[in-house]
Each structure stands twice: as C-alpha cells, then as structure tokens.
C-alpha cells in the first residue's frame, strides 16, 4: 500500500493508491440516482496552455472513514496544476455536480472576473456548464486552488498549483508537493450545524477534573468569563483524518530521495479548518518562500502553517527514513509521511504532544504569558515591557468583577464596530503578535518560525501608506457567530471595504476573539508590517492573526475590481466572517500601476 508521489522537475508519477476501501457504503441521499465511483487518493498533473478540469461527485475513503466527496478529475485532492511564469492559460472547468461550483486560484494575480468567487467575481458555474478561465501568469511559486461555493472545499474540491519560475532555480534537486488537508465522512452542512448547536461538539481535549494543569482559581476565572481555554480548533481529529496529498497517516505515503540531495518541499495548507505544525524530527528545514514569494533563507526545526498559507522549505536529510509530521495545532491527530532513502521503509512518527491551553495573552491581555515559560530569546521585542500590566499571577488574583467587565469593554471599540450578540469579547489590551510562532509552539525547545523572521528576498518598492484602516475580527464562540467589525457578510451586502486604485493602505487587524484567524485577501499580495523594514516586508496573501492580538499589513491596491476578503477557516467564512474589497476606479486602457 505504499505510494510515492514523486515529482521530478518535469514529470510527476501519479500516486494511484488503490485503497482497499471497497466497502459497500449505502448510497447517501444526496447521491441518489447516481452511480458514484471512488475518487482516487492523490493527484495527477495537468499543465500547458489549455487545461480541462471536471468537478464531480464521488465516494472517497481513507483511514477507515469513507463518505461522499467532490473530486476534480476523479481525485482527492484534485490535479496539480503546473504552469510556467509568463505563459497564458485557458482552463475549462466543467460542473457535473447537482449544485453550482467554482474554482478560486488561491494567491494568483489575475483579472478579478477569473478569481472564482460566486457573487463577487462571477456568477458561479451552474450544473452541466463549463466556465473558461483565461489569464496570463504573472508570478511564480507555490499556490493552490479550491472551490469557493458552499462548503465544497471540505469535501475534496481543492488541489495544488505550482508556477515554475521563468529563470531556473538551482537551489534544489528534487521537488515535492506536501498538500495538507482533512477528510471527514460527515457532510459539511452537518458539521456547520453541529458547530451551531453543540457545545464544543468535536472537542475531546477539554479541561476536566482529571486533565489540565490550571489551578482552580484560573479555571474559575475562565468559567466566569464563559470561555474555554482549550478552545483551539472547532473541528478536530474526532471527525477528521488528516491528509498529506490525500493520504492518511496509515497509508504509508513516501517521499523518496537519494542521500545528499536537496529537496524542496512545497507545503500547502489546503485544509478547511486545521492549522498544522510541520516538522521532520532530526532534519532542519530552510525556509525559502512564504505564500509563493521568496524570502531571505533561514533555518527552523518546526513551523506552524495556518489554513491557506504555503511555505517552501529545502531539506537535505541524511540517509534513512524520516517522519514528515503534520500535527494538527490542537494535537488531536496528525498527517504523516515518510521522507526516505529506502523505498518501503516507514519512519516512525513521534507521538502526539500534549493538548494546548490558551493563556492570558490569547485573551488580549497584552504580553502576559511571561508567567510560565513565555517566549524567550528575542531581544528585539523587549519594548513589550511597557505593556506588561502585571504578571500572570497578579492577573489571576485580580478582582473577578473587574476582569469580567474588561473582557467585553465595548467602549474600547471604534464606532464602526457593531456591538451585539455576535460579539462576546473585546481584547482589552491587544498587542502585535507577529513574533508569536503559533499556539503550542511558543514553548518548544527548538527553532520555530515567527512572522518576524520573514524578510522579502527582493526589495519591494518603497512607498508610504497614505491611510490606515482598522478591522476588528469579532465572534461569539457559544453561538458560533463570526464577523468583521461585528457585521456578518450577509449584513454588508452593498457596503464593501473600499480602496482607491493604486492607493497604499496600512491595515491593522485586531483579533477580538480567542481563536487564530487566517485572513486572506484575494487578488493581491500585502506586506506584513513585521519589522523587516519598508523595503523587505514579506509579501503574503494570507495572514494569521493570533488570538487576542493584532497583525498589520501594508497593501497597494493595484488590482482593480471586486475581491473577496475573509477568514480562511471554512466554517468561520460560512458563518459570515467575510467582506468584499472593491478597488476603484478601473484604470483607463494603457494606464497601470
């Protein structure tokens, strides 16, 4: 049952694992009248100037779980779309589903009408229809594509997208895609319902009488605020099987190499809801790109990748078999593959680590995590000291009344934030958390990636923003409501976020929730304001805003049209955490930034 999705520069050997999951699954209601075939695990490759993709209903099974899937060209994930910088491409997408579909090319610069968001960039693709996307390829790097219709992305409608550089890249000998995702046999609408009606339905890592190290006093404080310190992921390994290139942890996926080779791993988080911690124990990773854009190289032992982000790393593993581990941030499961120089040898993955518990810092209490461990070793940020309004202990001992009040002090919000049932918390002292490596990675004893490590390899044009904009990420965990500035997408139909064409804006995202949100802007790259200096701020299409913290980016709005802007956690977007960004006016022919 081994498979090796080896991609050399120009060809890719299809990973066609015949899963022994020929179990007789009764036809679900939504599939009545259709004879469904099993979608293959893993993906083939399509390339060239003319590409055809077909979206269809299938069955899919992995790791003992099987159910309905939406597959593209018969596989989950869908095919690797391999393009070359400078080419033109025409992609015909045919919809064989009984419902509308779409494909969004995540991270690509293109005319807005081909961005693939129904209701924003185009009408969507009706059942039986073929829609032709046509655009020039203006960039290179590691990206991905996925449905932007309903919750199809959860069902398998996603795949990798790689754009070869116009100039050869001599930094590596072998090139692999590591596409992370999840599979669940549960229909995504049912998951959405469970999130609305069930209290932490998928969370089996709550603090209990017998589990968790918090003192009674701390527990009472969290309870008083009606917050759950183990609220790390909404949907977990309780229903998800975590996949690497469509393969579950028991499938024995292998990445083969010859000792001495430099291997480029293109890590893509194509999941619906999961942040992953990526590590190859014993093998350091050199980060060369983030979200498809080259960064100054630096070495880490582990990094957290938010939903919809991509990181490219180069590894040079010694002879042997090494576990490539994609541990879910909440540690409810992992995706596993073997990076091996011996075909058929599986590396033993390390065990799952202890569940993560939120801290005061995740409540937006400023840099409070100093109490137990904290993050040592970045002298550059000692400036925080001034915001330290007391140690964790002092805070825990604080009068509970005033604490409770301060967790939803709506007077701290700007006027444009709508206060209502959809907002259960206001971060009292939100600080920039660009130096936070991600929940659970702040206390590991090896090198981890922080946004403050990222520096653009090629200098950006130096330009000052002329305006600043603050957007609050708001939510209510109990009601499972999510929004920007307290307003769900359904409430801001005709009230977009407006940028003038070629305007440069500094956008500060303030996270008034205790979850990390990967915020994605379509059609643009923004620059993280991470201390790298104006010329070297890293370019990204998705930024993780850490719980109770802020993240700031500069964006030059030089792509005219209408663009989606949303949290890339699928069920957060579905609940309303989305907006439209309009860039106007359209430049006259011949003009351009």
């Amino acid at each position: 049952m081994n498979s090796s999705p080896l991609i050399t520069r120009r060809n890719l050997i299809r990973s066609t694992v015949g899963l022994a999951a020929a179990s007789a699954v009764p036809l679900p209601a939504w599939a009545k009248g259709q004879s469904l075939t099993h979608a293959r695990q893993g993906f083939g490759e399509v390339s060239g100037e003319r590409i055809a993709l077909t979206v269809d209903s299938h069955h899919f099974g992995v790791g003992g779980r099987s159910g309905h899937a939406v597959a593209v060209n018969g596989t989950v994930p869908g095919p690797l779309v391999r393009l070359r910088e400078g080419q033109n491409v025409r992609i015909d997408v045919t919809n064989r589903l009984a419902e509308d579909t779409s494909i969004h090319w995540h991270g690509l610069l293109l005319p807005f009408q081909f961005d693939g968001v129904p209701g924003v960039s185009f009408p969507g693709i009706k059942p039986g229809e073929t829609f032709t996307y046509e655009f020039p390829i203006r960039q290179n790097g590691t990206y991905w594509w996925h449905s932007h219709s309903g919750l199809q992305e959860q069902e398998g409608h996603y795949g990798p997208l790689i754009i070869e550089s116009a100039t050869p890249d001599p930094r590596y000998d072998r090139d692999y895609v590591v596409l992370l995702s999840e599979f669940t046999p549960v229909h995504p609408h049912e998951i959405a319902r469970k999130l609305k009606v069930g209290e932490h339905y998928y969370n089996y890592q709550m603090q209990t009488a017998t589990e968790g190290e918090m003192s009674l006093e701390e527990r009472l404080m969290w309870g008083r605020m009606r917050m759950n310190p183990r609220d790390i992921s909404d949907v977990t390994g309780a229903t998800y099987t975590f996949l690497i290139n469509g393969h579950g942890p028991m499938d024995g996926l292998e990445y083969l190499f010859t000792p001495g080779e430099r291997i480029r791993l293109r890590v893509i988080n194509g999941s619906a809801m999961t942040f992953f911690n990526i590590r190859i124990p014993g093998v350091p990773m050199t980060v060369i790109a983030a979200d498809g854009k080259d960064v100054e190289e630096f070495e880490v032992d582990e990094f957290q990748i938010g939903t919809a982000e991509t990181y490219d790393v180069i590894v040079t593993p010694p002879d042997g078999s090494h576990a490539l581990v994609a541990e879910a941030m909440d540690r409810s499961g992992m995706g596993v593959a073997s990076l091996t120089s011996h075909k058929g040898h599986r590396a033993a993955p390390p065990p799952l680590r202890e569940p993560v518990t939120l801290t005061m810092a995740d409540m937006g209490m400023g840099s409070m995590e100093g109490g137990e461990g904290g993050h040592g070793g970045h002298g550059g940020h000692d400036g925080h000291g001034g915001m330290n309004h007391g140690s964790g202990d002092a805070m825990a001992g604080m009068d509970h009344g005033s604490m409770d009040h301060s967790m939803r002090d709506t007077s701290k919000l700007p006027d444009n934030v709508k206060v209502g049932p959809g907002l259960d918390m206001v971060a009292p002292m939100p600080v920039d958390r660009m130096d936070f490596p991600g929940l659970g990675l702040d206390k590991v004893d090896h090198r981890v990636l922080r946004y403050t490590d990222l520096k653009a390899k090629r200098p950006n044009p130096h330009r000052m923003p002329t305006r600043q904009l603050e957007i609050h990420l708001t939510g209510n965990m109990e009601r499972y409501m999510w929004s920007f500035d307290g307003r769900k997408f359904s409430a801001v139909t005709d009230d977009p976020i407006r940028f003038a064409y070629d305007e440069r804006v500094r956008v500060k995202l303030v996270n008034d929730t205790m979850m990390a949100h990967p915020i994605h802007l379509h059609g643009h790259f923004f620059e993280l304001v991470n201390g790298a200096g104006m010329m070297n701020q890293p370019l990204k299409h998705t930024v993780v805003v850490q719980p109770g913290g802020t993240a700031t980016f500069d964006v030059t709005a030089n792509e005219p049209g209408d663009w989606a802007f949303h949290c890339h956690l699928l069920y957060h977007m579905h609940a309303g955490m989305m907006q439209t960004v309009t860039v106007r006016p359209f430049p006259k022919a011949g003009e351009g930034a």
């Binding site: 109990e478 005709d494 802020t550």
Partner: protein, 313 residues
C-alpha cells in the same frame, strides 16, 4: 406580592440584560458604514499597545501618524458591482443573493431530550421527560419545550408544552416569549416571558414567568452545570425552583416559593448525542404549598434514584 416575586426573577436575568443594554443602546444609532460618513474628523482608535508594538521598534513608520478617514473620493466611483458589466447584472444579482445567504444566514435547529428518566423512590416509581428544541438563525429562533411526569402504570400527572420566540439579547442570553399549554393535570394556557442562556461560571440558566388564563402568575428558574470528570463522563448538578405569586387552590399551591427540585446526574457520552445517566434527586414542596401537602397527609419531600437518557440530534 406579585412585584416581590418578580424581583428575584429580574435579578436572575440581570447578567444578560446588563450586557445587552450596553450593546444596544450604545450603538444602535450608528450602524451605518463609516466609509460613507466622513463628516467628523477621524478619531483614530488608540489602544494602549500602539506605542509599544513591536513593529514600531523597527519601522520608521508610525501607524498613529496616518490618517484613518474614509478612502479617497475616486474609490467610490462605479460600477457598484464590477462583475455586472461582464456577466450581466441579473446573473450577478442572483449569485450575490446566494452568496450572502450562505455566509451568515444559515438556518438550523436541534431537538434535545435533556432528561428522559425513571425516578425510583420507595412506593411510587415515576417517569419524567424534559425536551426542548429550536429552529432559526443566530438572532431569532422558534423554540419549543415540553416537560411532564407521571407514575409508571398510572396516568400522566403533569404535562406542558411551550412554543416560544427566542431573540438574542446579548452574547450569552436569549429573551423568550410565547405561550405554554398545560395538558395535565388540567388544560390551562399561559403567556410566557423568560430568558435562557449561559450565565457566568458556565451555568445554563432558564428562567421564565407565566401568566395563566386565570390570571395567576407563577415562575420557574432552572440552572445546571456540566462538570467534566473526563472527556465523556460528566457530572451535572441541577436545581429548579418554582414560585407562585398567589394561592392556586385547585393545584394545592400556596403563594411564595412552591417547589425545589435538585439533583445530580452522572452521564456518559458514548457520543455527544447519546448519553445515559444515573443520578439522585431530591424534591421538596416549600412554604405554604408544603403546609397544604402536610395537611392532606402527603409527603412534602423525597429522594429518588434516577436512571435516564440525555439525547439530541
């Protein structure tokens, strides 16, 4: 008497009401987009962190120096929807409607059998059900509740059904208003006004006042807490207090506190939706109601062993 009774009820509802009001009264007035209302000078939202945030240490550019007003006028130039010109306004309008409906307007619901139990006490073994469900969106819901009990082999002694409109009044509480119909011990209808939600310390609270078709006012407050012993083994203390604003002779009820029902239930969640439990319950008639029972030669309190099921879908 009636006002005196209303007081504890209001106090109970206070956490919800307090939050809610700060929200609604304070901000209802200006829900319009700030982008289109550039009238007053932008007041940059200043947080205590802004002077010390890490990016300031490294970047020469001070966030606070930038204006935070509306976008330049040209950003408001047409078209309102860029895709209309390419795909047609009609096709885009339909897609937009669908898009908005699927990003925040989900309607859903659930039915929960909170308690379906046998109550074993010396002499008389009884059964009880306590069911509720809802359907709707984030803010407005249709809620129904049903509760009742009876003796095994005997008849149903109490049975009621409520149909309510639930409206979110704060992050954690819903206001509920509607009607209640008693089927047993006699047919009676009531108007219902109450609150339900999550109180501090994670107590699930349901408090309601009832006005019967005879003009009688009664009230009921319930609270329960899920204490996780393990991920699936949960101990639930629960208490319910009933009150009456007046004597109700035909139900042997005296004015004041009328009944207390407490219990602890230990359930095991084989699945979240399916959790059998065992427990022990203590019930007592209170005040004048207890006196009435005592005069009639009845027990005023008792302990029962509980065996039941908590289930939902």
């Amino acid at each position: 008497m009636k006002t005196a009774l209303a007081l504890p009820l209001i106090l109970f509802a206070l956490p919800a009401a307090a939050q809610d009001h700060s929200g609604h009264t304070g901000h209802e007035g200006h829900t319009e987009e700030p982008a289109k209302a550039p009238a007053k000078a932008p007041a940059p939202f200043k947080l205590p962190d802004m002077t010390g945030a890490p990016q300031m240490d490294h970047s020469a550019h001070q966030v606070g120096d930038l204006p935070s007003g509306p976008p330049p006028a040209e950003a408001f130039e047409g078209p309102q929807h860029a895709a209309d010109a390419i795909f047609g306004a009609e096709a885009m309008a339909a897609a937009r409607a669908e898009n908005h409906a699927t990003h925040g307007e989900m309607k859903t619901g659930t039915v929960m059998v909170e308690r379906l139990e046998a109550r074993v006490a010396d002499g008389h073994d009884a059964f009880l059900w306590d069911v509720q469900g809802w359907y709707g969106g984030d803010i407005d819901k249709f809620v129904f509740k049903s509760e009742g009990e009876g003796e095994f082999g005997g008849s149903i002694e109490d049975a009621e059904l409520q149909a309510l409109w639930g409206h979110a009044i704060g992050p954690f509480f819903d206001l509920q208003a509607g009607v209640r119909l008693d089927v047993e011990p006699e047919t009676r209808s009531h108007l219902v006004l109450g609150v339900q939600g999550l109180a501090p310390y994670m107590w699930h609270v349901d408090a309601a006042a009832f006005l019967s078709d005879r003009g009688d006012i009664t009230a009921r407050v319930e609270g329960e807490y899920d204490w996780k012993l393990t991920q699936r083994l949960i101990l639930q203390p629960r208490a319910e207090l009933e009150l009456s604003a007046q004597d109700i002779p035909e139900r042997d009820i005296g004015a004041g506190l009328t009944k207390l029902e407490t219990g602890v239930r230990l359930r095991y969640e084989f699945a979240r939706e399916f959790a059998p439990y065992v427990g022990v319950g203590y019930e007592a008639k209170l005040g004048e109601t207890a006196d009435i029972a005592r005069l009639a030669g009845e027990d005023t309190d008792g302990i029962a062993l509980l065996l039941g099921l908590r289930a939902w879908f």
